[in-house]
């Protein structure tokens, strides 16, 4: 080593050229690569610059640190030290104070002035052992102080300690940067707009969501200050948070945008205090328009639900109404029937008297008046019966499928709520024929509701319609009564549920008016009797049975043709049967 040669800058700087021990640089080199292999550690060993004008001192310093994991540089004066520091950016500098060209204090001052070298940690070396100098050095930004004559171990220990501090600081810095990156990434990916305001209300940061929300690029937003904010509520909230240092929020403000539109926005504003305790506000704004849209949609959906609920209620009212009419009709039929016998007796009695006796004019007039009164009474009673019986059907050609769909619509919501699946298989080939579609819908509604009530929760309601040749084993008692024959071409509707089915003991009475197994208030027991009545009026039949696989099945049959005249003027055998059955049940 030729530390004495102060002019030979290359030699004094280059580690390789230093000293006459050629093995050292190699070992440093080896250590470097070893250090590089340690992935988590900083790749480079710490670089230490030794500065002293006296070569012997340099040598002592060099020797005390050599062989450890450092990259060592040397400088023999203040000016050279600054030069090397600028070029090589050492981590640490051991700096002699008393040097002829430039003293260590001055070197330190200049180092700290230059942003490129300000973070070089300086340890002063000096024979001076006075507190004043130490303080002066530390004031200049030095981290430590070693007094001459120094012991190699002390130098090594201090350097090592400071390198450790440096490394830790560096790691800390790196971690901070990582945290900042994470924070930036979070801010970046947030859907909420984030705007940071400093203590005087100037925008200090914005995230991309804020750019989108305000419709302005970051560079525009960053020029804003508090007085620029619109609307007033937003500005005032930010001001209050700055003043009162507490969190505030606004449920909804209308945020004006450059295009003249406004956005509904929710605002939260919180005070922030960073390390230096400079106050600020962070504004978090959330665009509510999507939520408003969803809410509007929910409203619409709930409106629809309400409507369908109302429709169902209306339909149920209709059913109840029909059931009431049915029971009024039943009563009327009973009364009419009871009145007709006495009417017949009086009629025939009068007729007889007119035959067998001769009357004067007054008596003849009395008889004539009585005849007329009788005929009037008969008309009234007949009206009562007509009302209770075949009230006119409003017949129009339609397919059963349409009535099924309409009725299903009315109970769909309740079925969904009860977790009952609906399986429909409605054959397109089912022909149209005259039906009173309102009444037919009552039929299906009654049957769907019964199935639904039977299943209570969970299960499957399946509805199949077809136009087919009637299988002999599908002829129920009512179908037979109504005159259906095997292999007739029929419109067939099967409604099946997965409920508990029907108690075999009840099978014969299901269609009896007022027969119900439901609790008081839950069932009128008129549903099926009204249903059969309507079906019968249409010339069809309905039978209910248990399915072998469990649950109940309602089977409806209709002829593909239906003559209105037949339906109205001459009652069918089934109708007459139904009438007598009704009257009998009323008498019971």
């Amino acid at each position: 080593m030729r530390p004495g040669n102060r002019d030979n800058r290359e030699e004094s700087v280059a580690v390789i050229g230093m000293n006459d021990a050629p093995t050292r640089p190699a070992s440093i080199q080896a250590q470097t690569t070893a250090a590089q292999r340690r992935a988590s550690e900083p790749a480079q060993p710490p670089c230490v610059l030794l500065v002293d004008d006296i070569p012997a001192n340099l040598r002592v310093l060099y020797e005390s640190l050599n062989g450890r994991d450092y990259r060592l540089l040397v400088a023999n004066g203040g000016a050279q030290a600054l030069e090397i520091a600028q070029r090589s950016r050492p981590d640490l500098m051991l700096l002699d104070i008393m040097m002829p060209d430039m003293d260590g204090f001055e070197v330190c001052r200049r180092l700290k002035q230059d942003a490129g070298t300000a973070d070089v940690a300086v340890i002063f070396l000096s024979a001076l052992d006075e507190a004043a100098d130490k303080i002066h050095g530390l004031e200049l930004g030095a981290v430590d102080y070693v007094t001459k004559p120094f012991h190699p171990e002390e130098v090594a220990a201090r350097v090592e300690a400071h390198c450790k501090i440096l490394r830790l600081e560096r790691e800390l810095g790196q971690r901070n940067r990582q945290l900042e990156l994470v924070r930036d990434r979070i801010l970046h990916s947030m859907v909420e707009a984030v705007v940071g305001l400093d203590a005087v209300g100037r925008v200090s940061f914005v995230n991309p969501a804020a750019e989108r929300l305000f419709g302005l690029a970051a560079e525009h937003l960053l020029t804003r200050d508090l007085s620029d904010w619109e609307p007033t509520a937003l500005r005032e909230t930010a001001q209050r948070v700055l003043a009162e240092r507490r969190e505030l929020s606004l449920d909804e403000v209308a945020l004006p945008r450059p295009d003249g539109s406004t956005l509904p926005v929710e605002l939260r504003a919180a005070p922030i205090a960073d390390a230096a305790d400079t106050a600020g506000v962070v504004l978090v704004l959330r665009d509510l328009s999507e939520r408003r849209r969803v809410e509007a949609k929910l409203h619409r959906t709930s409106d629809e639900l309400h409507r369908s609920h109302r429709e169902l209620q209306a339909a149920q009212m209709q059913l109840v109404q029909a059931a009431k009419l049915e029971s009024v009709g039943r009563l009327a039929a009973g009364v009419a029937h009871e009145v007709k016998n006495p009417l017949a007796i009086v009629q025939l009695g009068l007729d007889y008297l007119e035959q067998v006796a001769s009357f004067d004019d007054v008596s003849a007039q009395v008889l004539a008046d009585m005849q007329q009164a009788l005929s009037r009474a008969d008309t009234v009673v007949r009206g009562l019966l007509d009302f209770s019986r075949e009230r006119d059907l409003d017949l129009k050609p339609c397919a059963v499928n349409e009535a099924i769909q309409n009725s299903l619509q009315l109970v769909r919501h309740e079925l969904t709520q009860r977790n009952i699946a609906v399986r429909t298989s409605l054959a397109e080939a089912v022909p149209e024929r005259p039906f009173d579609i309102d009444k037919l819908q009552q039929v299906f509604l009654n049957l769907f509701m019964n199935a639904m009530h039977a299943m209570e929760r969970d299960g499957t309601l399946s509805i199949r319609s077809s136009f087919t040749a009637l299988a002999g084993n599908e002829l129920g008692p009512h179908a037979r009564d109504a005159g259906f024959l095997p292999s007739d071409r029929v419109i067939r509707v099967a409604i099946e549920d997965t409920g508990p089915g029907i108690d075999p003991e009840d099978l014969g009475r299901l269609f009896d008016p007022y027969f119900t197994t439901k609790r008081q208030g839950e069932g009128t027991g008129l549903g099926l009797s009204v249903t059969r009545n309507i079906v019968t009026l249409h010339g069809g039949s309905i039978d209910l049975e248990n399915r072998p696989e469990g649950g109940a099945r309602a089977l409806l049959l209709f002829h593909p043709e239906f003559a209105r005249a037949e339906a109205l003027s001459r009652p069918s055998e089934a109708t007459l049967r139904a009438r007598t059955a009704r009257l009998r049940s009323a008498n019971r």
Binding site: N341, A344, I345, D378, E573, L576, T580
Partner: protein
């Protein structure tokens, strides 16, 4: 020419009486009343009527059932019968008797003239 025999089956005695009086008054018919549906068949066997009027709604047995039994009985199956009942209306039958699903119906209340016309018609066939 012997008088035609008519059996009246109805649970209402006053009605069968009125019917009988009107029929007998013509001098052309021999009439028997039966007010219990369950006795109808025996009465028919004993009386051997040419025509039976049957009420439908009777407390013990329905007129429709009586008709079924008549048809089943070889000795009685030839006898003509008609339902005189309130379960059909004049709107459905029109004036006089009407054929409804293979049976003859006469709606209550019936007038004397109407009754006699129907009887003649039924006995004529």
């Amino acid at each position: 020419m012997s008088k035609k025999r008519i059996l009246l089956v109805d649970d209402e005695p006053a009605l069968t009486r009125m019917l009988r009086l009107n029929l007998e008054q013509t001098g052309r018919f021999e009439v028997r009343e039966e007010n219990r549906g369950t006795n109808a068949l025996r009465a028919a066997r004993e009386f051997q009527p040419d025509l039976i009027f049957l009420d439908v709604m009777m407390p013990d047995i329905g007129g429709d059932e009586v008709a079924e039994q008549l048809k089943q009985d070889p000795a009685l199956s030839k006898i003509k019968y008609a339902f005189l009942t309130a379960i059909v209306t004049k709107r459905e039958t029109g004036t006089g008797a009407a054929e409804i699903s293979g049976e003859t119906f006469l709606a209550k209340p019936v007038k004397r003239d109407e009754l006699l016309a129907v009887v003649d018609e039924l006995l004529d066939e």
